[in-house]
């Protein structure tokens, strides 16, 4: 599940963090393209995901954070510039790490999920407090439904069939995961002003899981001197696999190269 794409003699690395109940699979193409553009790319599978997917209900957000932080520290020992990139919950994790580690060179936050207010959130979401804050959260799960965060119909069909096998992601989202994500989001929101590293925010205005409110919140509240905000129009939540994936890569590479102190060690056309 994990993947690493390395270039020799390169001091720039990107740590990619996947989304809630997802897997590194959803970042693989994006990671490959960053690698082509001259970055070392690492994408580990978060605790409770991958082969361990069915144990996700036992995981606390601190487990995700500690794991991702360890991965970051390991990379920082080998590379002089380490960037964080994340999608969905991975973006929230990236923000959480950047709040704590001032030596993070830059952040790419894709479909940041600080609030669950997208257009596929069920009508009965007003009952969520009952589900989230009582023991019912251990029993309730959102069934993953069409469109699965993807606008591109070909990719959506592929993901749909993979989801049935629970291999690349769960075909349901346990409420415990949502609870942990929202707890982590709460912490990130509290101290988001501590983030002063360069940041690129990429979000779709048709995101089915989380509206632009999350991205707006990040953009307005981070203290970064360098901050870019790109709103995409032809994707849903899983931007790295959707219609705008090439545009997302292009903007990410431009952003990373623009903030890199080491400069472009190898620039390629990736799109």
């Amino acid at each position: 599940m994990n993947f690493e794409f390395k270039n020799e003699n390169n001091q720039r690395a990107v740590l990619l963090l996947h989304g809630m109940t997802g897997s590194p699979f959803e970042m693989k193409q994006y990671g490959k393209n960053l690698h082509k553009a001259g970055f070392n790319v690492y994408c580990p599978c978060l605790p409770g995901h991958g082969k361990d997917l069915l144990n996700v209900k036992k995981i606390k957000w601190q487990d995700w954070f500690n794991f991702a932080e360890e991965e970051y520290i390991k990379l920082k020992q080998s590379y002089s510039e380490v960037y964080l990139g994340g999608i969905c919950m991975g973006a929230v994790l990236a923000l959480a790490i950047a709040e704590k580690h001032k030596d993070v060179s830059g952040i790419i936050a894709v479909s940041t999920t600080l609030f669950l207010d997208g257009w596929t959130i069920p009508w009965y979401s007003f009952l969520f407090p009952m589900g989230l804050h009582t023991i019912l959260r251990f029993y309730y799960s959102f069934p993953e439904q069409d469109p699965y965060g993807i606008k591109n119909e070909i990719v959506r069909r592929k993901i749909s069939s993979l989801l049935k096998e629970n291999t690349v992601a769960l075909n349901y989202i346990p409420m415990t995961c949502v609870y942990e994500l929202l707890e982590m989001s709460k912490q990130v929101r509290k101290s988001i002003r501590n983030i002063n590293q360069p940041i690129l925010i990429i979000h779709s205005n048709r995101d089915d899981l989380t509206s632009l409110k999350s991205a707006d919140f990040v953009y307005r509240n981070v203290s970064s001197a360098v901050k870019d905000y790109i709103i995409l129009k032809n994707s849903y939540h899983l931007i790295t696999m959707d219609n705008d994936k090439d545009l997302a890569v292009q903007k990410s590479v431009e952003f990373l190269n623009s903030i890199s102190v080491l400069g472009n060690s190898r620039i390629e056309q990736v799109c």
Partner: protein
């Protein structure tokens, strides 16, 4: 007085429904059927809302009467599901489910004693 009795009766109805539903949930949730579990959780959420509302209504009606302490006694039970939810762990979910049912049973008997107290 009548309103207090009616609100106590509604509290007992929702309370006993919750005790039954949570007890049945112990069997239903074991099947690990995602859709069934989710729908049943929604049903329990709705029951919990009615349970909370009945406690609040009792507090409202008993406020400024000599029975105001009935509402006060039941008030902690309003927060118990959230307290249990906060401390619960997946590994010991059966234990916490039993605690949840136990608190409902205790509040049920408290409600029954209150009705006898009024009469």
């Amino acid at each position: 007085m009548k309103l207090i009795i009616y609100s106590l009766i509604s509290f007992l109805i929702f309370n006993s429904s919750l005790i039954t539903a949570f007890s049945a949930g112990k069997i239903i949730f074991k099947k690990e059927n995602i859709n069934l579990n989710s729908n049943y959780s929604i049903f329990l959420s709705v029951l919990l809302i009615f349970y909370f509302v009945s406690i609040l209504v009792l507090n409202l009606f008993s406020f400024n009467t000599k029975y105001f302490w009935y509402g006060l006694i039941l008030l902690p039970f309003l927060f118990m599901p959230f307290v249990i939810g906060r401390i619960a762990k997946y590994e010991k979910i059966n234990f916490y489910m039993n605690i949840q049912i136990l608190t409902l049973v205790i509040s049920f008997f408290a409600g029954v004693l209150m009705i006898f107290g009024i009469k």
